[in-house]
Structure formats: C-alpha cells, structure tokens
C-alpha cells in the first residue's frame, strides 16, 4: 500500500451518471485521513450508495478521480480490494451456519487457521452470536444476520472499512458495542467510511461528517463545526409558575423576538420555543412573564443536535 499523502480516500470532482438521467453523484470532492472515521450522511436517494459502490470498486465513475489508499479505483481495483472491508447495506451470507459462514469468510481472506479460530471465538463473543453460532444464517433474525456481516469483516486485516448502515436491526446495547469496537479499531489506525440514518450514531462515532443531497455535498466538517455553522436552531423550554396567566397568542403578540422562531408551543405551564438567537428570546420572555405576574421556574436551553443540522442543511 502506498499513499503520497495521509489520505486513505481521495475523491476529486467525482461524477456518476446512469444513462441520460440526472447525475447520481454530482461533482463531489472529499478526503478521508488515515485512522479517521468519516460519516457520509444523506436521505434516501441522495447518492450515498452510488458513492460507496464507486469507492468499493463495484462501479466505475463517469468522471473525476478516486484514489483509495493511494491507488486509482479504476486501474487498481483488484489491489484495492485486498486492503478494504465492506459491510454492505443489504444482507449477504452463505447458506451455512453462522460459525461456518465465518470460517468460510476467513478462508477466503486467507486468514491463517490458528488466527482464524481465535478471532472467530472473540468475535462470536463480542457480537453475542454464541446462541446462534450453529444456526444457519437464513434462520436467524435480521439483527443477527447484520451482526454476522459486521463480525466477519473483522476477521481479516484491512486498512479501510466501509460500513453502510451497519447497525440496522441491532438493539441499542449491541449498537453501542459495535460502535465502540469500530472506534477502538480506528484508534489502532483503521480508517472507516460510515453511513447511517441514525444520526446519533454519526455524532457519537464520526470524526468528520459530510452531508450529501441530490448528488452534491452540502456541508462537511467535524460534528461541532457543523453544529456551530449549520445547526443554529436551539430549543428553549421554560416551566412557568405564578398567579398570572398567559396564552400562545399573547406570547406571539408581545414578544417581538419570537418572530424569528421556528416553532412555539404551550402545554399547560410549559413553553417550548425552537429557533435561533435564543438568548434574546429568553430575555424578552422573562420580562414578559414578570409583567404578567409570572416567573420562569425552570429553564432548559438545548443545543442543536446532528438531526437539527441535517434537517437544516438538507431543507435549505
């Protein structure tokens, strides 16, 4: 493996067109560093899967350059495939038991037999597959099939791992266990290209994220950078006490700064406001409540989540 810079993935001006249809991937560029976990987020049909299929050498790009581990994806596909692992979105397994699936997969990757036995035992334990190790893969649940898919990929050594929605069907405990394991491997130098619809996962695991929509990358950066620059929406929750009264209409008419808010709701004594520049709104709200003989009992100001960022970027 050779790379003239520290990037495991270098994508420059990548375009993919199917027939005469609109570009599935439309002139995107990004780079993934060694040991980095890079999140690739987008709604259905945004271009994520097409991009992954190009990066994993399954389909050639229409134009642009893609280098994986310093090798061109068109001309060095066979070489690249020796150094990557892929957990595809769709399920894939052989018609054999879970254990035999892993043995076969290890054999295909030429994992030495003594190493393979140890790794299989470790991964079966880590991925909680002991109960179903003798079950045929097609007999087990979707979550367990997914666990098999992820587990078997860690049987072989690799420099770059593609995870396309790897935790679908898994329970929260297993999801967290898988993410922690990926993080651990990343700290050991593994680069990871990660897509998910569960944005909390991306927030938890990714070093950097890009958001793709209609084939174009709309935003890219660390999760904090994206929150700071794109997720300007904050949620203000205020519980009110006192002898006076208030209505949603009254709040709207008397607090001018609420004009810029995205959402306002009143439920019994609780006011929830979603919007930008919440400091000003909070000041105005407290003054208004005082005028009405009320006071703010509890105040909770929540920062924007990655979900907010995603919605903000994609809906722009």
């Amino acid at each position: 493996m050779s790379s003239d810079d520290d990037n495991t993935i270098s994508v420059d001006n990548l375009v993919k067109t199917y027939g005469s249809a609109k570009n599935a991937v439309d002139n995107i560029s990004f780079h993934v560093k060694r040991g980095e976990i890079y999140g690739f987020l987008g709604k259905n049909g945004a271009g994520k899967t097409t991009t992954i299929r190009i990066l994993t050498t399954l389909v050639p790009p229409t134009s642009g350059t893609v280098n994986i581990l310093g090798m061109d994806v068109v001309h060095k596909a066979t070489q690249i495939r020796k150094h990557i692992g892929v957990v595809a979105q769709h399920e894939s397994y052989d018609f054999a038991t879970i254990e035999r699936n892993m043995k076969i997969y290890g054999m295909l990757w030429q994992v030495p037999s003594e190493v393979l036995s140890t790794r299989i035992e470790e991964l079966i334990e880590l991925f909680d597959l002991e109960r179903v190790r003798k079950h045929r893969a097609f007999e087990v649940s979707g979550g367990e099939k997914k666990k098999l898919q992820v587990a078997r990929e860690f049987l072989h050594d690799m420099d770059l791992l593609f995870l396309d929605e790897p935790t679908v069907g898994m329970d929260p405990i297993m999801r967290r266990r898988v993410l922690d394991y990926v993080k651990e491997k990343s700290r050991e130098g593994l680069s990871v290209f990660f897509t998910t619809h569960i944005l909390e996962e991306a927030d938890y695991i990714c070093d950097r994220i890009s958001i793709i929509d209609q084939g174009k990358i709309l935003a890219e950066g660390t999760t904090q950078f994206l929150k700071d620059n794109f997720g300007q929406l904050k949620t203000l929750e205020v519980e009110v006490s006192g002898t006076g009264s208030f209505t949603e209409k009254g709040l709207r008419e008397n607090i001018m700064s609420l004009e810029n808010s995205r959402d306002l709701s009143v439920k019994e004594n609780k006011i929830t406001i979603v919007g930008k520049n919440m400091d000003r709104t909070l000041e105005d709200l407290i003054l208004y409540l005082n005028r009405m003989g009320l006071r703010a009992e509890r105040i909770n100001l929540r920062e924007s989540s990655l979900d907010d960022v995603f919605l903000e970027v994609v809906n722009k």
Partner: protein
C-alpha cells in the same frame, strides 16, 4: 505464507457451501438410486439394447446415461451458484473482496467439474460392480473424463446464463424443473431412441445435448468408439464453446447488486 490462488479459495468455498448432507444425498445418492431402481425395474421390460453390432443389458445401457445426468445436475449446482449468490448478496460481497470476476467464474466451473467427477466416479464404480462389463482402457478413460468435463462446463454455462437472465426464484425454479424434465427424459440417457419413438421426440432427442453426452459416454465405457462417437464429441465441444462464450459475455455484463 503460501498464497492459495483466489479461484481455488472460491472453489473450496463453493464446495463448503454445497456440501451439506441433503445436497450430498441428492448429488451422490440420486444417481445411484437411478441405477438401482431403473436398472432393476426396466431390465424386465427392456430385455436388451442394440448398440452397434452388440446387444447389451439395459442396466449397462442406462449407467452411462446416468453419468451424463450427473454432469447436468452438477452443472445446475455450479451455474446456479451465481443465482443464489446474487439473490443472497454474496456475489456483490465477493466482488468487493480480493477476487476478480474471472476467479469467481472459475470457482463456479471447478465446483461443477468436481461434483460431476466425484459423482461420476461413484457411478462408474457402482455400475462396474453391477454390470461388470465396463471397458476402462487409458483412451476410454480419457474420453470419459474429457466428456464429463466438457459436459459439465456446457451445462454450467447454460445455468450460468439462466442465473444472469432470470430474476425471480419462482421463474428460475420453473425453468430448471422444465429443463430437467425435457432434457433428461427426451434424450438417450434413460432409454434408446429408435424408429418406434414418436417423431417429434426423436427429433428433439437428436438435438438434445444430453443425448450427445450419453452417447459418447456409452461408446467410451463399452469400448465402442466409432466415427459417430467422434462426431458427437465434436458437437459437444462446439456447444460447450458457444454456451460458455455466451455465458461469459452475459456474466461480464452483470452489475453487482442488480
């Protein structure tokens, strides 16, 4: 570390996936059952069959036909592997692994040939035990092996073509059953086709590749190789080349994940 060629690893994988007890019984047991049941049931109905200048027992007649069917069955398992790998996501998975498409194709072909040779060897041994009259000289054995390998590649190619073109499981199974029924029974594998056979069936049998395979194998194991046998062999070679060529072209066009 000695690196095993990718196509061998894929062949081993294909064998592992297919060597569950059910498949083994089907592969190795069914042809033997054919021989035992047909050989004993029909022998009372068909007293003897004329091959060239000699008259042979029905059991001796049917044994090479069953070996021919074995090549067809093995071809189905080999070529059909692509269909199930596409259906269960393994084709795309393997194509992101350390393999080339050629490796995968070779893995399928080798699987068919191994299953075919394995089953055929059992059949030959069993047939020899039952009939005791197989003539296995070096040249005859060579001709048997060549025919088995060519026939397996031919039938694997046919099922590979099906695997590329047919999308649904129902359609694939229906076509497979149809092919099995028509090619097996409208051929010279199980019974001789002569002037008593209805004309349409006779014509179909004359162009049925399984008939060519059965005829060559029969001539080889009976030590009765004639110019007609060589002609049949040439037809098998030509058909194998044509179908393999079509299969490769279609196979190369598969977009993983579709």
């Amino acid at each position: 570390m000695i690196r095993t060629p990718a196509f061998i690893r894929l062949t081993v994988r294909n064998l592992f996936v297919n060597t569950d007890p059910g498949t083994l019984v089907f592969l190795l047991g069914l042809p033997a059952l054919y021989l035992l049941i047909l050989g004993t049931m029909f022998v009372s109905l068909i007293s003897g069959v004329s091959i060239g200048t000699s008259n042979i027992s029905y059991t001796l007649f049917v044994a090479p036909g069953i070996i021919a069917i074995q090549t067809f069955t093995a071809g189905n398992i080999g070529g059909g592997m692509l269909w199930s790998d596409r259906r269960w996501g393994m084709f795309e998975q393997l194509m992101t692994g350390p393999f080339r498409r050629t490796d995968y194709l070779l893995g399928i072909m080798f699987l068919g040939v191994i299953l075919s040779l394995g089953g055929s060897l059992i059949m030959i041994a069993l047939s020899y035990y039952v009939t005791g009259t197989f003539i296995m000289t070096i040249s005859n054995t060579g001709l048997v092996l060549l025919t088995i390998i060519l026939a397996t590649i031919l039938f694997s190619s046919i099922f590979l073509i099906l695997s590329v073109l047919v999308r649904t499981m129902q359609a694939y199974q229906t076509i497979t059953i149809f092919l099995f029924f028509v090619l097996d029974f409208a051929s010279t594998a199980f019974y001789p086709v002569d002037t008593r056979t209805p004309l349409p069936l006779r014509v179909f049998s004359d162009i049925n590749p399984l008939s060519f395979v059965s005829n060559v194998l029969r001539s080889a194991v009976l030590g009765d190789v004639t110019s007609g046998t060589i002609f049949y062999l040439e037809v098998i070679i030509t058909l194998t080349f044509i179908f393999f060529f079509i299969a490769v072209i279609l196979y190369r066009r598969i977009k993983p994940g579709t």
